[in-house]
Point group: C2
Chain length 295, copies 2
């Protein structure tokens, strides 16, 4: 993490705020069933053989452009809600890119609101998607080129760092969730807990009756987590490259052999060919099955 | 939330695990610079006038198909890492959809690993993107159709519920992050805190020197958060539809008029036309500027 993260973004923002006497950000959460009429027309006109997704994406893009045109001199930034574009599939992602470019051309900053958060290697991929870009054997692929992003800090400091580094590189900003605006935030974010957050979350998961992601890198926590979530299916990342071992994961399986799932990517695919991948998968499968049948 | 969330998914999973004696999930985190040779060839052959993104997406899709073919009978599911597809733009999202369909055709479950988490209205959009789909004036758009998703619980119960409801509807499962596998998880997830999580996160944000998302719906917390993060830019969602008021946000601006940004979507765009949107933006801008200049 650089010396003054966010500084480039903060400077650009401060200049805009003072120039426009505005701290307002236009949220772009386009709902296909509540678009402005001009946008619905544009979608319908986008072609008889276009798919519903392509038409809806054309309409959403037109809606965002009209909203930006209407308020561009009253606001300093737009904040596209990534979910609203993702639900339109690939054409939706294209509409997000086009909307980002359009807003930037009108002199507005773009805050990509995706609230991403993941382990460091994956955080780097999100940074490439939203901020910087990636070099491939087929040429450079530019990222979205947002001026700032929102980020979820639940995974901790090492998971934020790749986002912050990429933001520094791109002269962009990062907004980290500290206290969100929804009513349900209080239970997790405000109530002091004598117990670690993972126990609070384990109780919530048990109550909701869903599955749990419980890293295989801390097998010492598994028995306690299993006690707190007797019925949950555990999804266990971290075996292999991250240092976890299938043989240590017994407590995940105490109730049923399907009580745990071991997710592995690099240790299966990393060898680079089908035969080695198959052998690695077989070996991992045996180790897990053995761990699950020792009670 | 239904009576037995995850049950349909859990039943399908249990049958597969016992049939194959495997609890292994193939992670699909394709890195364009480390694809299997057969995939790089497929990308290169995908057309002279294809963009780098289209070629890379074709290569990534072929890589995933080869990996699935190699281990399909050794594993019960695949777990595509959404970040790795998003960084290829719109063609990447299409490759994700194609990979999902291909894995399901081979009899595998698909766990879409995006770790999404957002306020309820946005969580519904993510649910539509990944699980169910959405009806538009242009026809139905199917979602990714994943068999399960991963979800980030930091926003609390009301933010998880739309994901769980959609999963029930789609006979799918939800895995909620409880304890992640990265080293940095310990600081946030394991250490007991006498203070609320939002204060722990505020200290982290201050230390990292980035911005903070601080909901406008709890103005009573703002002064404390400003004390903990004297230099951070606050991004303040929740004004308008969620009940927050710009006039209450003074503490966000104590250091600089650009110390806070007010994000508003429905209260600007909701009126449905450009004139009303412009008037709403002007009014909000005035209210915020006034709050920022009263010290």
């Amino acid at each position: 993490v650089g010396e003054r993260p966010n500084q480039g973004f903060a400077d650009r923002l401060a200049a805009l705020v003072e120039e426009r006497r505005s701290q307002i950000v236009l949220g772009l959460d386009p709902d296909p069933s509540a678009l402005w009429p001009v946008a619905v027309e544009a979608g319908a006109e986008s072609g008889g053989d276009a798919t519903p997704a392509a038409q809806a994406a054309a309409a959403v893009e037109r809606h965002c452009r009209a909203a930006i045109d209407a308020v561009a001199d009253q606001v300093v930034a737009v904040k596209p809600q990534l979910a609203c574009f993702e639900r339109l599939g690939a054409p939706g992602w294209q509409a997000l890119q086009n909307t980002t470019r359009y807003a930037q051309k009108q002199g507005l900053l773009v805050i990509a609101d995706g609230k991403r958060g993941d382990v460091p290697v994956t955080a780097r991929a999100y940074a490439q998607a939203l901020l910087t870009g990636i070099d491939t054997p087929f040429g450079r692929i530019d990222g979205l080129g947002a001026d700032a992003i929102t980020a979820n800090p639940m995974l901790g400091r090492d998971a934020l760092e790749p986002l912050i580094e990429a933001a520094n590189q791109a002269n962009a900003g990062v907004f980290v969730l500290v206290r969100t605006s929804n009513p349900g935030a209080a239970e997790i974010q405000d109530e002091p807990a004598e117990a670690p957050l993972h126990e609070k979350l384990a109780r919530l998961v048990h109550e909701l009756g869903v599955g749990a992601v419980t890293g295989a890198t801390r097998p010492d926590l598994l028995q306690k987590l299993r006690d707190l979530m007797p019925n949950a299916i555990f999804l266990l990342p971290g075996v292999g490259a991250q240092g976890g071992s299938a043989a240590d994961l017994g407590p995940a399986f105490v109730n049923h052999p399907a009580g745990g799932l071991i997710a592995s990517s690099r240790s299966i695919v990393g060898a680079g060919n089908a035969e080695a991948a198959r052998a690695a998968a077989m070996q991992l499968k045996e180790a897990a099955w053995n761990a699950s049948t020792v009670r």
